[in-house]
């Protein structure tokens, strides 16, 4: 067992864990941060999508030993603080469009959406249907239509 140190949702934390344990389980089983969901642990369903240094990633597929002390991990719980508000504009867009059904995939959907919009903006364009087609997050309730509307709306306020 080793001690791993990194920034989680704005706070420096340390956690004891075997180095090969994937970050998802460190977050969920050891730290009790349950916003990122377990859907496959195969980097396929994307329901655990979170951010590392502002970019989307899947903690189910990263060993905790590969996280550096100066890495900043943001889960859905820490997303509003990144814009200094109670809700990130993308979360608000999700509410406005009543996107959720069961809700299991939605934290991951929102985290992926924020990163996708940032990526588009960094490339100097608004989010397009082709960008949205690249999102791999599964929603088994089939809320895809409302997800697309919410991302376009949320992007306006980002």
């Amino acid at each position: 067992m080793a001690t791993h140190t990194f920034t989680l949702n704005g706070k420096q934390i340390s956690v004891e864990a075997e180095g090969n344990v994937r970050l998802l389980w460190v977050l969920r089983d050891l730290l009790g941060v349950t916003g990122p969901k377990y859907g496959c642990a195969l980097e396929v369903c994307r329901s655990c999508t979170s951010h590392i240094n502002g970019k989307a990633f899947n903690p189910c597929s990263v060993q905790v030993k590969d996280i550096e002390p100066d890495d900043e991990i943001t889960t859905i719980e820490g997303l509003p603080a990144t814009v200094g508000k109670d809700l990130h504009p993308m979360q608000q867009a999700w509410l406005d469009n009543d996107v959720s059904q069961c809700g299991y995939c939605q934290p991951g959907q929102i985290m992926a959406a924020v990163a996708k919009v940032k990526q588009a903006h960094a490339e100097g364009h608004e989010i397009t249907d082709a960008d949205l087609d690249e999102l791999r997050n599964i929603c088994r309730c089939g809320t895809y239509s409302r997800i697309r509307e919410a991302i376009k709306a949320g992007a306006q306020d980002m």
């Binding site: 067992m1 075997e18 090969n20 344990v21 994937r22 389980w25 969920r28 089983d29 050891l30 349950t34 916003g35 990122p36 969901k37 377990y38 859907g39 496959c40 642990a41 195969l42 980097e43 396929v44 369903c45 329901s47 590392i52 970019k55 989307a56 990633f57 899947n58 189910c60 597929s61 990263v62 590969d66 859905i76 719980e77 509003p80 979360q91 999700w94 509410l95 009543d98 959720s100 059904q101 069961c102 809700g103 299991y104 939605q106 934290p107 990163a115 949205l132 087609d133 690249e134 791999r136 599964i138 088994r140 309730c141 089939g142 809320t143 895809y144 239509s145 409302r146 997800i147 697309r148």
Partner: protein, 780 residues
């Protein structure tokens, strides 16, 4: 779960029940003995959902037109509905523990709206919980058959109306004025000369020390302020902030992560484990025990359980379908097809056979359950749609009395039929008993696809005879691998068999089929029959049982008939539909979707209709089958034809929440696109090859239409129809019909890409693959 396919014209029907001078309906209930106001309701069988027999039509009524599955569920629920109760707390909030499961369908939001409406209480002062297993409710605690709103609508309204009336009466007595002079709004009773009292201040005085019978009047629809208006989900904020708790998120002391290494065939068993000590010595692992269908491993993290699964060396016993593959199952189905009754009319006959592959009903949340079993009691937490049967079965399995087993129903991350079964909760109980410790069991994603519940493979044969512009006969022979109804509906059937119009020796599945299937067309002599092949796959419902397949087959044949008659598919349906509500939604879909507009070669429109659960739907889609679309490169996924536009027109009887209804229609469409084009299980030597969402191709963003419109028709009834499964069948059929028109080839094997294996199957052992480690290479 399925239900009847007819939507009788209810516009002229009035609900049963006594009506007052203002058209208000008087209802009865009980003020229960409690320190604060609690109202229980009793409801009379059938009156919640009156069902007229059809007038004579050219096709004789089939059984489901007289008495449908929802009626059956209502009847079974009626004697026990009286036990549900609304409580009014001292802080003025109302609490109702609904005896149903919330798995994303929006039931808790709709129930909160009903309470808020009749109680004149703001939505944020209504709390809806999920009731624990309550054996005294008998079969009135089953979530399925799109029946929740149909069976709960009037009982919940009644309880809320009586609660309101009791508060008004209490204030009136207090103030010495007639109750008729008081009004309610926003959780406050107002009287003459500006006197007001909050509900919270009245609830103790309104309570009763003994249970007494009381009556109240329901609000007429014209005064509704909440029902019928769009309302967002009550749990939306918790969802988008990550606070909503699912089973895996719950903290039960010492219930540590637990997974199971499983055999390489469906329902395989364990003969011996050759390295138990080595597995127990792995980092983070606390317990390892062999169980019926695998080797259970408990540890500090799920990740370490996955590590341990990689190391298990076991000798496995056989499963229940070890020799079976797609081709062997199909051969058995074909051998079991019932014969047609009407001989073919040579050149004026259409004979067609459609094959539907196995499909997985797995939700996104992996199957999970928490169990804490001690020698004299057990406590279970799981998303369960039939918790009473779970409680009874688990008690028997553990050797405990029923009242020593407590079963909590928790929020589920989807269900689609999966949570009708309690096999995961039972397995958690088995493991907890054998380890003597609490466990938080999760099946892995691969377990879900390979050992979870599947919609059975089936064939549908159709023969139609026609002559001189008329259809003389329509026969459909549906043949399916046995559907497991072991979740307890059978008790209802058994209990009420004497009252059924279908009787005799029909099997349970045949009864469900007969109660749920009928043709909406004037096609002369019409017969639709089911036969089953008793293969022991783990089967179950999947957002309906039979309708998506039966309707897809029927509507494809309807399009062929239209072509034989030289008629456009829209015109043909208008000519032959016998259901006015279906005709109305069809016409609306044609208008909104601009039926018949010019389309480029390789693209086409398709349309289909369906009535079930007292609702009616028409779906019009546009599909793009051009090579540049079909062959779009998608990494680890399938592209194929894309549905580019969909218009769904729904007549829900009475619409409780347009926002929620629209969500159900959109979800049903996405399921249908997957069933028609991309998602299926390939069975090989007793096991599905699929093991992840990149193998089982449920609709993804690159498959979804960019333009989806849902149109809700004006109310045609006082009662809500079912909605959860309603949209799947017509959308499936519409996509299939559009594909046939775009390509000029009628598809006969679904999904259309089943013949091509679009992935490299994960190994069968270890049963759960190791997680990747290169996630940081794929950030964006």
């Amino acid at each position: 779960m399925a239900e009847h396919r007819r939507s009788p014209d209810e516009s002229t029907q009035q609900p049963a029940g006594e009506r007052g001078l203002l058209g208000r309906r008087r209802v009865l209930g009980y003020v229960l003995a409690a320190p604060t106001l609690a109202v229980g309701v009793s409801w009379i069988a059938g009156s919640a959902d009156p069902r007229p027999a059809d007038a004579a039509v050219p096709s004789l009524p089939q059984p489901e037109e007289i008495f449908d599955l929802g009626d059956l569920q209502n009847l079974a629920a009626a004697p026990t509905s009286g036990l549900i109760s609304v409580e009014l707390k001292t802080d003025g909030t109302a609490y109702f523990a609904v005896p149903r499961a919330e798995v994303g369908q929006g039931m808790t939001t709709a129930i909160a709206m009903i309470v808020a409406e009749e109680l004149d209480l703001p939505m944020d002062m209504v709390t809806i919980g999920l009731a624990d297993a309550r054996p005294e409710l008998l079969m009135n605690q089953l979530t399925g058959g799109s029946n929740s709103m149909r069976s709960m609508y009037l009982p919940v309204r009644t309880a809320a109306a009586i609660t309101r009336q009791r508060l008004v009466d209490t204030a009136a007595a207090h103030w010495g004025v007639s109750a008729g002079k008081l009004t309610t709004r926003g959780g406050v009773v107002s009287g003459p000369s500006g006197r007001t009292a909050t509900y919270g201040s009245l609830t103790r005085a309104a309570a009763s020390s003994r249970t007494i019978k009381v009556s109240a009047e329901l609000k007429p629809q014209s005064e509704f302020r909440v029902l019928g208006r769009p309302h967002n989900r009550v749990d939306a904020h918790d969802i988008v902030t990550g606070r909503k708790q699912f089973g895996m998120d719950m903290e039960v002391p010492n219930a540590k992560p637990t997974m199971v290494a499983r055999p390489p065939t469906i329902n395989g068993t364990v003969k011996s484990v050759n390295n138990l000590a080595a597995i127990r010595a792995m980092p983070g692992i606390t317990d390892v025990v062999p169980i019926t269908h695998g080797v259970a491993i408990r540890g500090e993290t799920f990740g370490q359980c996955i590590d341990a699964i990689q190391m298990v060396e076991a000798t496995w016993g056989p499963g229940t379908v070890d020799g079976e593959s797609d081709a062997t199952v199909l051969a058995k189905l074909r051998a079991a097809q019932l014969p047609m009754a009407v001989p073919p009319l040579l050149s004026n006959t259409i004979d067609a056979e459609f094959v539907f592959a196995f499909a997985s009903n797995s939700p996104l949340e992996p199957d999970c359950a928490i169990a804490d079993v001690t020698p004299d009691r057990a406590e279970i937490w799981a998303s369960l749609k039939v918790p009473i049967v779970a409680q009874e079965d688990i008690a028997k399995q553990l050797g405990l009395p029923i009242d020593a087993v407590k079963v909590h129903v928790i929020q589920g991350g989807g269900s689609f039929g999966r949570h009708l079964f309690h096999d995961v909760a039972a397995e958690a109980a088995e493991i907890s008993q054998k380890m003597g410790k609490p466990v938080k069991l999760s099946w892995s994603r691969t377990d879900n696809f390979r050992q979870g519940r599947v919609h059975p493979m089936c064939t549908s044969r159709v023969r139609v005879n026609y002559l001189a512009g008329n259809v003389l006969s329509y026969e459909q022979r549906h043949t399916s691998v046995e559907t497991d109804f072991g979740h307890g509906l059978g008790e209802m059937i058994t209990a009420f068999a004497a009252d059924l119009p279908v009787g005799g020796n029909l099997s349970f599945a045949e009864t469900i089929f007969a109660l749920s299937q009928s043709s909406p067309y004037n096609f002369g002599v019409t017969t639709q029959l089911l036969n089953e092949v008793p293969l022991k796959f783990n089967t179950g419902s999947m957002r309906n049982i039979y309708s998506p397949n039966v309707v897809c087959a029927e509507e494809l044949v309807v399009d062929r008939l239209a072509a034989k008659f030289g008629q456009d598919p829209m015109r043909f349906r208008r000519n032959f539909l016998k259901d006015k509500r279906l005709l109305a939604v069809l016409n609306k879909a044609a208008e909104v979707g601009r039926w018949g507009k010019a389309m480029p070669k390789g693209t086409a429109q398709g349309v289909a209709v369906h009535a079930e659960y007292r609702g009616a739907v028409a779906t019009l889609v546009e599909i793009d089958c051009r090579p540049e679309t079909v062959n779009r490169p998608i990494r680890d996924g399938v592209s194929g034809p894309r549905v580019t536009k969909a218009v769904i027109v729904v007549d829900p009887g009475f619409c409780i929440n347009p926002r929620g209804l629209e969500a159900q229609m959109i979800g049903g469409l996405q399921d249908a696109i997957a069933l028609a084009l991309t998602s299926s299980l390939h069975i090989k030597n007793g096991m599905p090859l699929e093991g992840s969402w990149d193998d089982y191709f449920y609709t993804r963003q690159w498959n979804t239409p960019q333009d989806v419109q849902v149109v809700i028709m004006p109310n045609t009834s006082d009662s809500p129809s079912g909605a959860g499964e309603l949209a799947v069948a017509p959308a499936f059929a519409a996509v299939a019909c559009a594909y046939a028109r775009a390509t000029g080839t009628m598809p006969t094997y679904f999904p259309i890409n089943h013949g091509t294996l679009g992935f490299e199957p994960l190994p069968l052992e270890p049963s759960t693959p190791q997680s990747p480690t290169d996630g940081l290479d794929h950030t964006f």
